[in-house]
């Protein structure tokens, strides 16, 4: 029986081929940025199309592991592909100003974004822990370079901090893999699932240590407290044109990996890891909310808010398998909100600069009504107000955590949600109630950020009012 199916690897092949082609054409012909855009666009569209094909063929079937159990083609990986490549497309459109400002180095930027997208999708599709490690590193190493792509002081600092803490997290994650391997004797997730389901380990110490290290390592990547220290500096220092992609990509890839690792191979040890996940979740929600209140730079505020959101998503994981749908809904809609919000940031402070003080948003409602409305909508959605995806997402994770018996965690998270409204609404007050400082002219908004904000706003409202199509779809997006 042949278990080679290139559809499982199709999206990666499409984006990687586009990245290689782009770099080769760049060396040979020095084309204009428009050509880069076409190559990247076709690659991403092909990857998205292949992910949708994978969704149609792969969801709801059993035993769909390929390449010697290395890759899974199931609803989980296919939905992950749809989210990742949609995100990559919107992220590139929002940050196109950064690509053109980098001049000839813009080709490297676009190629790195494509390779990071391949890594992020592999994180959702890996069915082997070493494969997952390689996927994580493909995405992470691309992210380190993207964070420092403009080579100014702030970007350098962000890249170095991201790199050192990211490499540390990768080493911790890898040690977790090694210990789980030592305890189970296999690296294949399916093999571990059947081994741990059938065997009672008399001395599970090595396995439990491995599980803890896996949670810590991936907790770093999704910026859950207390492993969040890199996030604010990286968000603030990285050029605004790419911050949205970095932030959303790290969340989607990290939570896809975390959800699959915890619910497939380690499902039998749910009672051991779920309390730890609940503690990390509550710590993230509380720390993220409290520290976001004190920020006067919108990118740092969004970074701490992303720590809080990581906590909300982790809450759903305490339910194990039953929480995966809630994780997917929350992380996919939150990723769109983040990309939309950072598209506005890129339009206000320029796609190639790092810092974006809250003061520069005073009177944005007059300077650019469309951008102000977009950012306002994202703030409302992140705060969890009804009629937006943020509300539906929070409802889902709270219900999953209550069903799993973590009422205390949900109550804490609810209090934090109310407290969080303070800093989300403060941005809206700044934009509409305050007068612009000095004689601020009307803001010139490029087509890229305008499109990105438009698409993400439409998705946030439509899926917030009518979430059922996506919710029904997610019933098939479970790991094998």
């Amino acid at each position: 029986m042949s278990n080679i199916d290139f559809l499982a690897l199709g999206p990666e092949i499409a984006v990687t081929a586009a990245a290689v082609l782009l770099l080769m054409i760049e060396v040979a012909r020095k084309p204009s940025a428009r050509v880069w855009g076409w190559i990247a666009g076709i690659g991403i569209a092909a990857a998205l199309g292949l992910s949708i094909a994978g969704w149609v063929l792969g969801r709801g079937t059993d035993a769909n592991l390929y390449f010697s159990d290395m890759l899974a083609l199931d609803g989980f990986s296919a939905f992950g592909g749809i989210v990742v490549f949609t995100l990559t497309g919107i992220g590139l459109i929002a940050g196109w100003g950064l690509v053109t400002s980098l001049r000839r180095r813009g080709a490297e930027f676009v190629a790195l974004v494509l390779i990071a997208a391949a890594g992020m999708h592999l994180m959702a599709a890996s069915a082997n822990l070493i494969m997952l490690f390689i996927a994580l590193e493909v995405a992470s190493i691309s992210f380190y370079v993207l964070a420092g792509i403009t080579r100014n002081r702030a970007a350098d600092e962000a890249a170095l901090k991201y790199f050192l803490l990211g490499a540390f997290a990768s080493a911790v994650f890898l040690y977790g893999i090694a210990l789980v391997f030592a305890a189970t004797g296999t690296l294949s997730m399916a093999g571990q699932e059947s081994f741990l389901g059938e065997t009672i380990l008399l001395r599970p110490g090595v396995l439990l240590a491995g599980i803890a290290l896996l949670i810590v390592g991936l907790g770093f990547k999704v910026s859950a407290a207390p492993f969040h220290v890199w996030a604010p500096d990286v968000y603030q220092g990285a050029p605004s044109g790419v911050t949205g992609f970095l932030a959303a990509g790290a969340k989607v890839g990290g939570f896809a990996a975390l959800a699959r690792v915890l619910t497939v191979p380690l499902d039998a040890y749910l009672d051991d890891w779920a309390p730890a996940v609940a503690v990390v979740a509550v710590a993230s929600v509380v720390v993220g909310t409290l520290l976001a209140i004190a920020q006067d730079d919108i990118k740092r505020m969004l970074a701490y808010s992303s720590v809080a959101h990581a906590g909300f998503i982790l809450l759903a994981l305490t339910a194990g398998d039953a929480g995966v749908e809630a994780v997917w809904f929350y992380v996919s809609t939150y990723a769109l909100q983040v990309v939309g919000a950072f598209a506005v940031v890129a339009a206000v402070s320029g796609p190639d600069t790092g810092a974006s003080p809250l003061d520069s948003y005073a009177g944005l409602g007059k300077r650019s009504p469309m951008m102000a409305a977009g950012l306002g909508l994202m703030m409302i959605a992140m705060g969890g107000i009804p009629m937006t995806t943020g509300f539906v997402g929070k409802l889902g994770v709270f219900r999953a955590a209550i069903d799993a018996g973590y009422l205390w965690a949900v109550v804490t998270a609810l209090v934090a949600t109310v407290a969080g409204l303070f800093f989300y609404l403060r941005v809206i007050v700044r934009m509409y109630m305050d007068a612009p400082g000095g004689d601020a002219p009307a803001l010139e908004v490029g087509r890229g950020p305008a499109w990105a904000v438009g698409i993400t706003s439409a998705a946030t409202i439509v899926l917030g009012i009518a979430p059922w199509p996506l919710l029904n779809m997610l019933r098939d997006a479970l790991p094998f």
């Binding site: 490690f133 901090k161 050192l164 490499a167 391997f181 603030q236 004190a294 740092r300």
Partner: protein, 103 residues
């Protein structure tokens, strides 16, 4: 008295090396030394993989080491490039000097 060095001892040594690497990363302030500590952590993991593979009599452990080494090499390329970029701009590789982004 049994003086054989079993794979368990190698795994214990690896855990000690891993902790030394982690402590080095958290305590040292020079970006290059911190980076070396990360490499020490990765090599401790490699030792764990090989020892576990030997104990369990499967090849997965030894094969994983090659993948880890390749990934570590890629990480070195990007990491040293970032450290050099920082050093050229500030003439220091101490992370204490990198304090423009805070709050």
């Amino acid at each position: 008295m049994d003086l054989t060095v079993t794979p368990g001892w190698y795994m214990a040594l690896a855990s000690v090396l891993f902790v030394i690497g982690g402590a080095g990363l958290l305590l040292r302030r020079n970006a290059l030394v911190m980076f070396m500590s990360v490499e020490l952590m990765l090599n401790a993991v490699n030792l764990t993989f090989v020892a576990a593979g030997r104990e369990l009599n499967v090849l997965d452990g030894q094969i994983s080491v090659f993948f880890v080494m390749v990934v570590a090499a890629a990480e070195v390329v990007v990491g040293l490039a970032i450290i050099v970029a920082v050093f050229r701009r500030r003439a220091t590789a101490s992370v204490d000097e990198l304090a423009e982004l805070k709050g």
